[in-house]
Symmetry: C2
Subunit: 413 residues, 2 copies
């Protein structure tokens, strides 16, 4: 078994994937297997009893949004009674930030990768304040979700239908030259996204007032493009999955209770352990006492070579996630130790345009004892509250050890 | 004479200025003293006989645009016959990139600085390709100018009238955290500008097709915001002008023949010497043989502490102007040697959020022999051709020496 060759194949497939944002559609229409009583969530598989507060909050919100439950109590009762099926977004070619809750009526971005022919999906980004992805489900949260699904969704859908598709790999490459790292900082990428959408929106919008609302919402939300970016990373990571013998990580995700990874050469298995509490900066009035363990599918960005791996491109991010610009540079330099390639398309000007560290090798993680660096938002541990900060976290080391043991068993090494 | 105190006063006024973009209007309506047979140009004063090719090209184009001349020959004849008056933009609170040619009918941005109560103006940015500011004046150049003045101008005017004014200092501060240096690289700033304009444009535009055209033009032009940014820098630099005893440079500008500076404590005098040819990267098919000497008012950005002085914020710019990211960092570090302050609002993440070097002290320039670093476009030396590259240049040392001698004479030192 030539593991290095298998890894080069995997990482080449990851880098040659070219995710294009081609449209928007209700989850039930485009995600194969999606159905009304199925709720997709971030991270590895988990049932209601072990779900954390923010994930439960997201589920309650989705049941209210779908009209499946009339109030919070009814939603909890349904979940407890087993009337709702739960599954990881990742099992449905989908990713979602934080709770990642995606239900059948929600409009999702459709990403197509013509290189390998796979697709990926993600829900719409809600912006700041009280939002479902952080486990909030008050009437204002639901009202915004409905506005997004109806007004924003219908205009975006018509605009994207007018486009030739938006090349998200090219967009990310440009954003990395504009101080983004592509996970917690998507300020430039969101503006590049707005720039491509604005003329399309102008052509398709019927009502100038709604059009202005949509352009304002997209422009004011520096995470507008996070969700399609995550789906683009999912498409790239999936392109690297399933290479026999490869020790490259093809998914990292957290459900708020467990941190899980998948490995290219190890099929559909998840390797999981309890997720840590991120270290970072808290919003006024909150401390690490309030924090939920790490949550969300957004670590798909680090899996694909950006996010915490591209921190050196985004020195300004330290004002948000803590640390110094030198720490940001060091984060990237450290990640070269545990990866097998430097990205051909994602480069970092400050490092003399060196490619970002790409393709996490579980062998290197275990051998060097260096786990991946992840940038993340921090959710309150209780349902219904929301974001309390942002910071840095690493997956537990043991999941890489588990994966390596499974690898040895599978390949008889 | 406490020169240091005078310089602190001057630079404090520069930094406390808060240029707001408040509107758009024809030059003749808002620039005091503007008239039909007056052409404003970049740099220090110059007459037709000594004008360089690109400046002559700009003048010819403006006379055609205004309908004052029916063809190129007639335009040249009028200029030679003394029927046209020429004056520096700087004498009219105005700045323009490259040739900087501004005539009475052209729509200009209006910048107001409520802190000190002064105003500044600049024309609209034409984008890439054959453009008047590089001395081109073919029918396609004039057609675009008319589209800009009519379609773009009327929509922008209506949009800005709906706004509360756009805070350009805040916009620049944000752009410096997004890989811009504010002169040759205004990619992030132009998108931040688009973000603010798009919802306003949606509200005021009557025709979806024209609206889409305008949003596309603004979004595709990574220099869209350069002209209002330059006028903002002019407003900041003018706020620092006229402080008795100050040795701070309050204007640097080139007309394609001479490089000129003004000094805060030395009134309206220009100190000039022949401009150099920039060093840089040339477009395919061109070499330094084709280059015109340094031209344009855009050095107002360096005068105000950004542009070449903020290179460390924009490592990706080296792909455009030559050099390495380390050179970019060194450029900023060197400029701290000849300036009197670190900007309170403009900071550089990669330098631990240190303020940009601000307020060029002619004493330090002369004493250390370090002249300011300037990022610039490079124009072809012949009229009618256009841009041939981009690069770096410095003003001639002797103009700082001349200014220091004039200072000694004026203040009897």
């Amino acid at each position: 078994m030539d593991i290095d060759a298998a890894n080069q194949t995997a990482v080449e497939q990851m880098m040659s994937a070219r995710p294009m944002l081609t449209g928007l559609a209700p989850a039930r229409e485009v995600i194969r297997g999606m159905k009304d009583n199925l709720i997709l969530h971030a991270g590895p598989p988990i049932g209601w009893p072990r779900m954390s507060g923010p994930l439960r909050g997201g589920v309650i919100g989705a049941l209210l949004f779908e009209g499946l439950a009339k109030d919070e109590k009814a939603a909890i009762r349904m979940a407890e009674a087993g009337e709702i099926e739960f599954a990881p977004c990742h099992h449905y070619q989908t990713v979602g930030p934080m709770a990642g809750v995606t239900s059948a009526s929600m409009e999702v971005y459709v990403i197509e990768n013509p290189t390998q022919g796979n697709k990926a999906f993600s829900n719409l980004n809600e912006g700041y304040g009280k939002v479902l992805r952080y486990g909030a489900y008050s009437p204002e949260v639901l009202k915004k979700l409905h506005w997004m699904n109806d007004t924003l969704g219908s205009i975006l859908k018509a605009a994207l239908a007018e486009s030739q598709g938006i090349d998200l790999r090219a967009l990310l490459a440009e954003a990395l030259h504009m101080g983004d790292e592509g996970h917690n900082r998507n300020k430039a990428a969101s503006l590049l996204y707005l720039k491509q959408l604005a003329p399309l929106v102008a052509r398709v919008a019927k009502d100038p007032g709604l059009e202005a609302e949509v352009l304002q919402f997209l422009g004011d939300n520096a995470l507008s493009v996070l969700n399609p970016v995550m789906a683009a990373c999912k498409a790239m990571a999936d392109a690297a999955h399933g290479v026999a013998g490869s020790t490259i990580v093809s998914a990292m995700a957290r459900n708020g209770t467990d941190f899980g990874i998948r490995v290219s050469g190890l099929g559909e298995a998840w390797f999981t352990a309890p997720a840590d509490i991120p270290r970072g900066l808290y919003f006024p009035g909150f401390t690490s006492e309030d924090a939920n363990p790490d949550i969300g599918d957004s670590t798909i960005t680090e899996t694909a070579g950006i996010g915490g791996f591209a921190m050196a491109a985004a020195p300004a991010i330290v004002a948000f996630v803590s640390g110094s610009p030198q720490d940001a540079t060091n984060a990237t330099l450290e990640m070269y130790e545990i990866t097998v390639a430097e990205h051909r398309h994602f480069t970092i000007p400050a490092l003399d345009f060196r490619g970002t560290p790409t393709g996490i090798d579980i062998r290197k993680v275990v051998e060097l004892g260096i786990t991946p660096r992840v940038n993340t938002g921090i959710a309150h541990k209780d349902p219904g509250v929301g974001q309390v900060g942002a910071g840095l976290v690493r997956p537990p080391k043991e999941i890489f050890e588990q994966a390596l043991i499974a690898y040895a068993e599978k390949y008889g090494l």
